[in-house]
């Protein structure tokens, strides 16, 4: 019996070696969610489409369905972002953290996740244009991806009792800013500018982000990373390797 074929737009999240010359490609597709597919012979220099199946690629892919893994049969490149990232190490490390987050936020294979797909595509696109600092794009992606997953940090009202802010304490286990009555022991006390930056990144208000001091950006990054990793229950492998040197092109 012929196996069913499907065609979809996808982002290449991860590639892993398989056997002599094959690879397992993890894709975040537009309509089919996260799928894992075998790409046969792509490590050989004679491969027709190996170059298009590198990480961070936005591709038009055709696969045959398999019982555990699908098989890639055709690939066309739409925008191969990896080519831009490899020339800029900080952007490469930020892009790695983005695709790892996308993979972790789609734990169930073949469950469509269009909003996350579009968000990840947008983040890679913004990163490739080089107009914004890679770490800011990364933090904006983390915050919005968490919002899609239902884990948006409370950045105005108290995360516990919903008392309107502004509040001065931030608790990752509580879910964001907390009022003086709900503040648990060990809560952080970030500056209001760091909270303002997180709000601006979550809402995509890039005008408010421009010119924010590096110290404030680091403070905000620390809170965002802690919040994300608390909800993911396991640290991101790529996050400690994100190069925070400041580069825009």
């Amino acid at each position: 019996m012929r196996k069913p074929l499907y065609r979809d737009h996808a982002l290449v999240l991860r590639v892993q070696r398989l056997g002599e010359a094959d690879r397992i490609i993890t894709l975040l597709t537009r309509a089919h969610g996260r799928v894992r597919a075998v790409a046969k012979g792509v490590r050989r220099t004679t491969s027709r489409f190996g170059g298009r199946l590198e990480p961070f690629g936005h591709i038009d892919v055709q696969c045959t369905e398999g019982s555990s893994l699908d098989t890639v049969t055709q690939v066309e490149g739409i925008e191969l972002f990896g080519r831009r990232f490899i020339e800029d190490y900080p952007r490469y490390t930020a892009a790695s953290a983005i695709v790892e987050t996308a993979e972790r936020l789609t734990p169930i294979e073949r469950e469509p996740s269009l909003r996350l797909y579009l968000l990840t595509l947008g983040a890679l696109n913004a990163l490739s244009q080089g107009e914004r600092l890679p770490t800011l794009v990364l933090d904006a992606y983390f915050l919005r991806a968490m919002a899609y997953a239902g884990w948006a940090p409370a950045l105005r009202d108290c995360a516990v009792c919903a008392e309107p802010g502004p509040h001065r304490s931030f608790s990752v286990p509580a879910g964001g800013l907390v009022c003086v009555n709900c503040r648990p022991p060990g809560a952080a006390h970030p500056t209001q500018t760091a909270i303002g930056l997180m709000n601006a990144l979550l809402e995509g208000n890039w005008d408010a982000v421009e010119g924010v001091d590096v110290k404030v950006r680091n403070e905000s990054s620390g809170l965002v990373a802690a919040h994300l990793q608390w909800h993911l229950e396991r640290g991101l492998r790529s996050l400690p390797l994100v190069d925070r040197r400041e580069t825009t092109s």
């Binding site: 991860r14 398989l18 056997g19 002599e20 220099t45 004679t46 491969s47 027709r48 489409f49 190996g50 170059g51 298009r52 590198e54 990480p55 961070f56 490149g77 191969l80 990896g82 080519r83 990232f85 490899i86 020339e87 800029d88 190490y89 490469y92 490390t93 790695s96 953290a97 695709v99 790892e100 492998r237 790529s238 400690p240 390797l241 994100v242």
Partner: protein
């Protein structure tokens, strides 16, 4: 499922990279059918490889002594250093006969998704070799994939302030191929790296 030593053998073969359960079973029965002397030779080769092969203290290639064959060779150029990901890449470059300098094996490529950064590779050791002052050219021969290219970019970023010439292996069309079958990335790279005749 088999019993006793044969199942143990199948399980051990099955743990090797690229060997599935069927291949493991085929290899195990091949070993059973083989001459006792052949099997002993195989067992000895495995044990000797594990006990005697180590990594060169200078370039981290596989070696039988403290230094590998290439690092011991006084006829090799000391002013050119070629950086590769794995020992098997050294063999591939040696087969070309084009390079007479020395090597440095990183032990992989930077891959944040797998938690591999510069600290997990032999980058610090490379910097220490470069600071000796005798090397004029650093050739980056990491794989032409995303991880390999990103590793080359990182190394170039670190090494260029030292005043050493950093070069990257060219990418392009395979010898003997037809142009129409080349993918757009490879063909694009070949155009970028075209040379004057």
């Amino acid at each position: 499922m088999y019993e006793g030593p044969i199942q143990d053998l199948i399980d051990e073969f099955g743990r090797l990279p690229g060997i599935g359960p069927k291949s493991a079973q085929r290899l195990a029965f091949h070993v059973l059918a083989a001459d006792a002397t052949d099997v002993k030779r195989l067992a000895l080769a495995l044990t000797r490889a594990k006990e005697e092969v180590r990594f060169c203290t200078s370039c981290f290639n596989v070696a039988e002594a403290e230094l590998c064959r290439i690092c011991r060779d006084p006829r090799r150029r000391d002013d050119a250093l070629c950086v590769v990901e794995e020992p098997k890449d050294v063999v591939a470059i040696e087969r070309t006969g084009e390079f007479r300098g020395r090597y440095h094996v990183l032990g992989g490529a930077i891959n944040p998704l797998e938690g591999i950064g510069p600290d997990q590779l032999k980058v610090r050791e490379l910097m220490s070799r470069l600071s000796s002052g005798s090397i004029n050219e650093l050739i980056l021969a990491t794989d032409p994939n995303t991880e390999g290219e990103a590793t080359a970019t990182y190394l170039a970023l670190m090494v260029k302030p030292m005043g050493i010439t950093v070069t990257r292996l060219a990418s392009g069309l395979p010898v003997g191929g037809d142009l129409e079958y080349a993918d757009e990335i490879t063909l694009g790279r070949a155009f970028e790296g075209r040379r004057k005749l």
